[in-house]
C-alpha cells in the first residue's frame, strides 16, 4: 500500500498486468524511451523491452489500426493516444473495426484492446490539448468508455479494461494526474466496468459527475453542506458507456432533484443522455428540472480563460441552489 498519484497508479496497473500476462503490450507515441509525455509508461520499456513497449511512428490511425490487428491475433494492446484531442484521427478505426469486428465475424474475432488517452482542461496546455469529447465514443455501439477520477479507481479500472474482452476507451483526467495522491493497494484490484459509485450519500440533491469534475463537485458538496446544510448524494459515473443508470435513477427517486456536471461541451453531451435516462426511468419522482453544469458549446479557450469555460465550484453551487429552490 502506497500513496500514489494517478500517473503512478496507472503505471502500476500497466506494470502488473504486463508482468502477469505476456499478451499485454503497450504502444504509442513516446511511450517507450521517453516513458510517455506524462510519464505514465515510465520504466516499462526497461522492464519489458521494446518489443512489448513500442514507440510508434507519429500516426494515430496507425496506432489504433495496428493495435486492432494485434488484438485480432490475440494480444491485449494498450495503446496510448498522446492527447484525446488527436484521437479523432483514429476515430474511424475504432468505429469501423474495433467496435464491430466481434459482431461482424460472429464472435470469431475479438478486439480486446484499450485506447488510453489524457483528456480535459486545467493544465495550461496548447490548443487541442484540453478537450473532453467522450460523447463521441459513448455514442458508438461496440465501444466502452471509462473515465476514472482518482489514483485508486484509475488503477483498478485500467486493470479491468485491459482484461475486458472488448475495446475500451480509457479517458484519463490529466488535471488529476498529479494533483493529489491516494492509497493504492499493492495487490491486484479491479473495478467492474459499467458500474458507478456513490461517493457521498445524501437526501437533498443528487449530483452526477465523473473524471476531473469530481473534485469541484465534491468541494461544492462540502460547501453546500457547510453553508446551506444541504446533503448532496454524489455519484461518480466511472463508466460513461455502458451507462449505469440504475444507481442514479434510484438516487433520483430519493432526492427528486438532480444536477449533472461535465466539462464536455453542453449540447449533445453526456449530460443529455443522463437526463434522458432520468426522464425515462424516474420521471414521476423529478421535483425540479434536472440541470446541467457543463462546458459551453465553444472550443475550450487557451489557459488564461480555461477556468471560465470549465465548471467550477461556484457554478455547481449556484446551480444546486437553483435546483433546490425550484418550485413547480
Amino acid at each position: 500500500m502506497a500513496k500514489l498519484t494517478m500517473v503512478q497508479a496507472i503505471n502500476l496497473a500497466l506494470h502488473q498486468e504486463m508482468k502477469k500476462d505476456e499478451d499485454v503490450v503497450v504502444l504509442g507515441e513516446d511511450v517507450g524511451v521517453d516513458g510517455g509525455v506524462f510519464r505514465v509508461t515510465d520504466g516499462l520499456i526497461d522492464e519489458f523491452g521494446e518489443e512489448r513497449v513500442m514507440d510508434t511512428p507519429l500516426a494515430e490511425s496507425g496506432i489504433a489500426g495496428f493495435a486492432i490487428g494485434m488484438a485480432l491475433y490475440g494480444l491485449k494492446p494498450v495503446a496510448e493516444i498522446q492527447f484525446s484531442g488527436f484521437a479523432y484521427i483514429a476515430f474511424h478505426q475504432m468505429e469501423a473495426h474495433a467496435a464491430r469486428l466481434r459482431g461482424r465475424s460472429g464472435g470469431r474475432f475479438t478486439v480486446p484492446m484499450v485506447l488510453r488517452m489524457p483528456y480535459g482542461g486545467g493544465v495550461r496546455a496548447l490548443e487541442h490539448h484540453s478537450e473532453s469529447r467522450e460523447a463521441y465514443w459513448a455514442h458508438t455501439p461496440g465501444l466502452k468508455t471509462v473515465i476514472p477520477s482518482t489514483p485508486r479507481n484509475a488503477r483498478s479500472l485500467l486493470v479491468s479494461a485491459i482484461r475486458d474482452p472488448d475495446p475500451v476507451i480509457f479517458y484519463e483526467p490529466k488535471a488529476s494526474y498529479r494533483a493529489f495522491k491516494e492509497e493504492v493497494p499493492d495487490e491486484e484490484e479491479t473495478f467492474p466496468i459499467g458500474e458507478s459509485q456513490i461517493v457521498r450519500e445524501g437526501d437533498d440533491l443528487t449530483v452526477i459527475a465523473y473524471g476531473a469534475m469530481m473534485r469541484p463537485t465534491l468541494e461544492a458538496a462540502d460547501k453546500l453542506k457547510e453553508d446551506d446544510g444541504i446533503d448532496c448524494e454524489v455519484i461518480d459515473l466511472l463508466t460513461i458507456s455502458p451507462l449505469d443508470d440504475a444507481k442514479f435513477t434510484k438516487s433520483a427517486q430519493k432526492t427528486g432533484r438532480i444536477l449533472v456536471v461535465h466539462e464536455a461541451p453542453r449540447s449533445f453531451g453526456p449530460g443529455a443522455e443522463i437526463i434522458t435516462r432520468l426522464v425515462e426511468k424516474s420521471f414521476v419522482y423529478l421535483e425540479a428540472p434536472v440541470r446541467r453544469v457543463t462546458g459551453y458549446d465553444v472550443v475550450i479557450p487557451l489557459y488564461q480563460r480555461e477556468f471560465d469555460y470549465l465548471p467550477g465550484v461556484d457554478r455547481i453551487v449556484s446551480a444546486a441552489r437553483e435546483t433546490l429552490d425550484f418550485k413547480a
Binding site: M70, Y73, Q93, A96, R102
Partner: protein, 360 residues
C-alpha cells in the same frame, strides 16, 4: 559538396512470365507442383463462374449489391496460393475467389450479399478476416497481425489486399510505414485494376507506378502483370518467403483490370469506353493460364469441359445450401449478439423491447 544524386536501396522491377498469348518465359518460370497448378486453375475458373452466377442472382433480385472479380482471378489467386493455412488473409471486398481458396464457403458469400450478417461470420480456425468495406482501413490490421505473429515467435505471414484507389487513403500509407519500421511479416497486394469506381488510375495518383510507393517506406516493391498467374505467384512467393524468414514486408502491385462493373450498383458506361474493356479481354488471365497448362500437357479441352461441369454442380449445390440456410435463419435478434462479450443491461432492455415489437 555539389548537388548529387542519392542512390536508393531498392529498384522497382516489372515482372511478367506468361506473355499475353500464354507463352512462358522459362527463365523466370516458378517451380510449382503440377497439382497446385491445377488447383490454381480450378480456383480461377470457379471464381469466374461463381461471379457470373452471383451477377445473375443479383440481377434477379435474389442478392443485393456485390463487387465482381471478373478479370482479377490471377491477381488474387496467384497471391493467396503462396500462403499456408496458418497464415492470415486480410481482404478488401473484391477478393471473393481468394476467400474461397482460403476456406470461405460460397454459401456464406451468398448469405452476406443476400443481406444476412451471418454470411460474414467466420468459422473458428479460419484465419480470414471478414470483408472490410471502408477502403484501405484493413491494411493496418495486417500489420498488427504480422507484428503479433513476430512477437509470438511464429513463422507466419499476413497478406492484405487493396485496390489502386485505396493507395490514396492515409491508412494504407500508415500501414506501409508501420510495416517498414517494425519489419512485420506483411505482404501488401495492391490489385491495380485501373479503376476506383469512375476514377482512373492516372487520376488517382501521379506516380508512374503504384509499386514505386514502396520506396517511401524503405520497402521492396515490385510491379507484376496481374493477369499472369505465374508472375503474381512468383512475386508473392518471394514476398511470402521474405516475410516468413523475418526479412520484413513487401509491396506488390498487380496490374490487372476490372472487366465488370465496380459493383452491381455501378454503370461503367458513364466513364469508360468499350474499347478499353475489349483491349483487356485479350489479356484474359484464365485464357493465358489454360494455354500454359495445355502447353505443359496438364490440361486438355476435354478436361476443361469436365471441370466446368464439376464447378457448375458445385455452385448449384452452394446455391441450394444457401437457400436452405436462408430459410433456417429466422432469429431476428442477432443484431444484439456479439456487440460485447457480455450483454450490458441497457442492451438487454433494448433486446426485450425489440422482442415485444416482434410479438405484437
Amino acid at each position: 559538396m555539389p548537388r548529387k544524386k542519392i542512390d536508393l536501396k531498392y529498384d522497382i522491377d516489372y515482372l511478367s512470365i506468361l506473355d499475353k498469348d500464354g507463352e512462358v518465359d522459362s527463365d523466370l518460370e516458378p517451380d510449382i507442383d503440377d497439382d497446385r497448378l491445377l488447383d490454381l486453375h480450378r480456383a480461377m475458373l470457379l471464381g469466374r463462374r461463381f461471379d457470373e452466377r452471383m451477377l445473375k442472382l443479383q440481377r434477379s433480385g435474389k442478392i443485393g449489391t456485390f463487387a465482381p472479380i471478373h478479370g482479377q482471378e490471377a491477381s488474387q489467386l496467384g497471391a493467396v496460393a503462396c500462403l499456408e493455412e496458418e497464415d492470415w488473409l486480410v481482404p478488401s471486398f473484391r477478393e471473393t475467389a481468394a476467400e474461397i481458396w482460403r476456406g470461405k464457403a460460397m454459401e456464406n458469400v451468398l448469405l452476406a450479399y443476400a443481406g444476412f450478417n451471418e454470411g460474414a461470420h467466420v468459422p473458428k480456425g479460419v484465419n480470414n478476416l471478414p470483408v472490410s468495406v471502408p477502403v484501405g482501413t484493413q491494411a493496418l490490421h495486417a500489420v498488427g497481425i504480422g507484428y503479433a505473429m513476430k512477437l509470438k515467435g511464429k513463422k507466419e505471414v499476413a497478406m492484405v489486399f487493396f485496390g489502386d484507389g485505396a493507395t490514396s487513403e492515409g491508412d494504407v500509407h500508415e500501414a506501409m510505414n508501420f510495416a517498414g519500421v517494425f519489419q512485420t511479416p506483411t505482404v501488401f497486394i495492391c490489385q491495380n485494376n485501373h479503376w476506383a469506381i469512375s476514377i482512373k488510375r492516372s487520376h488517382q495518383t501521379r506516380s508512374e507506378t503504384i509499386a514505386q510507393k514502396a520506396l517511401a517506406y524503405g520497402m521492396p516493391g515490385i510491379q507484376a502483370d496481374g493477369n499472369d498467374a505465374l508472375a503474381v505467384y512468383a512475386a508473392a512467393k518471394e514476398a511470402v518467403d521474405r516475410a516468413r524468414a523475418g526479412d520484413g514486408p513487401t509491396f506488390i502491385e498487380c496490374v490487372t483490370y476490372r472487366m465488370s462493373v465496380h459493383t452491381t450498383a455501378d454503370d461503367p458506361k458513364r466513364y469508360r469506353s468499350d474499347e478499353e474493356v475489349e483491349k483487356w479481354k485479350e489479356r484474359d488471365p484464365i485464357d493465358r493460364f489454360q494455354k500454359y497448362l495445355k502447353d505443359k500437357d496438364l490440361l486438355s479441352d476435354d478436361a476443361i469441359e469436365a471441370l466446368e461441369s464439376e464447378i457448375k454442380d458445385e455452385i448449384k449445390a452452394a446455391v441450394k445450401g444457401w437457400e436452405k440456410r436462408m430459410a433456417e435463419l429466422t432469429d431476428k435478434t442477432g443484431m444484439f449478439d456479439n456487440v460485447f462479450a457480455e450483454m450490458p443491461p441497457y442492451l438487454a432492455e433494448q433486446k426485450e423491447a425489440f422482442e415485444k415489437t416482434l410479438s405484437s
